[in-house]
Amino acid sequence: MANQHAAPVFLNLLRIRFPVGAVTSIAHRISGVLMFLGLPLLIYLLDLSLQGPAGFERAVEYLQCTSLRVASTVIAWSLFHHLFSGIRFLLIDTGSGVNLQQARRSAWLVNIVGVAMALIYLWWVL
């Protein structure tokens, strides 16, 4: 019974500390995977939009139907979050903003700006 306590079992999600930088980091991954999933949709819309004026009109209509408006807003969030958190990671790798306070502040900034840009996109596509 000696190693009964070897592996701590403490998976109360509400009590695990999840720092803001971890949110930025995991969201970088999630947004990357979401863009991979959205890739065929984006290429389909590009294809359609270049097949003459009628196809272009249809692509614009598609973008304005509710389900595609939601999907494209999710992709827009993914794109902007991934872009800004990617820039943040590059800057941190080159040695700027590495102290904890700066890193936390930039993580908050990236998380908020990603959502804000998605909302601006949603307003633009309406």
Binding site: R29, G32, V33, M35, F36, L39, P40, I43, L46, D47, S49, L50, G52, P53, F56, E57, L79, L83, G86, I87, L90, W124
Partner: protein, 100 residues
């Protein structure tokens, strides 16, 4: 490779965003003329290649982190590679047809 492609993707995306801010609602003619302009066409094709490289490395890292069974890993990676190759060829064909 991952960073190199990331920088190109970032620069191209910033250009796209500024373009859409300056020309918010293009007509078909404007849209087609923009995409089929040689510089934009080649820059877009390069963007597609960079997406394939960057996306493959990223998705591979994610799969290696979360899928531990060797067989399943190979299967998932093969599927992802197939999707990337198909999407890449499709997108390049769209750009090529637009440029004609």
């Amino acid at each position: 490779m991952q960073r190199f492609s990331a920088v190109y993707l970032g620069v191209f995306l910033l250009y796209l965003v500024t373009h859409f801010i300056r020309h918010p609602q293009p007509t078909y003619q404007q849209w087609h003329a923009w995409i089929s302009h040689p510089v934009m066409n080649i820059a877009s094709a390069t963007f597609i290649i960079a997406v394939l490289v960057h996306g493959w490395v990223g998705m591979r890292d994610v799969v290696l982190d979360y899928v531990h069974s060797l067989r399943l890993r190979l299967l998932v990676l093969a599927l992802i590679a197939l999707v990337f190759i198909a999407c890449g060829l499709w997108a390049l064909q769209v750009l090529l047809v637009a440029a004609r």
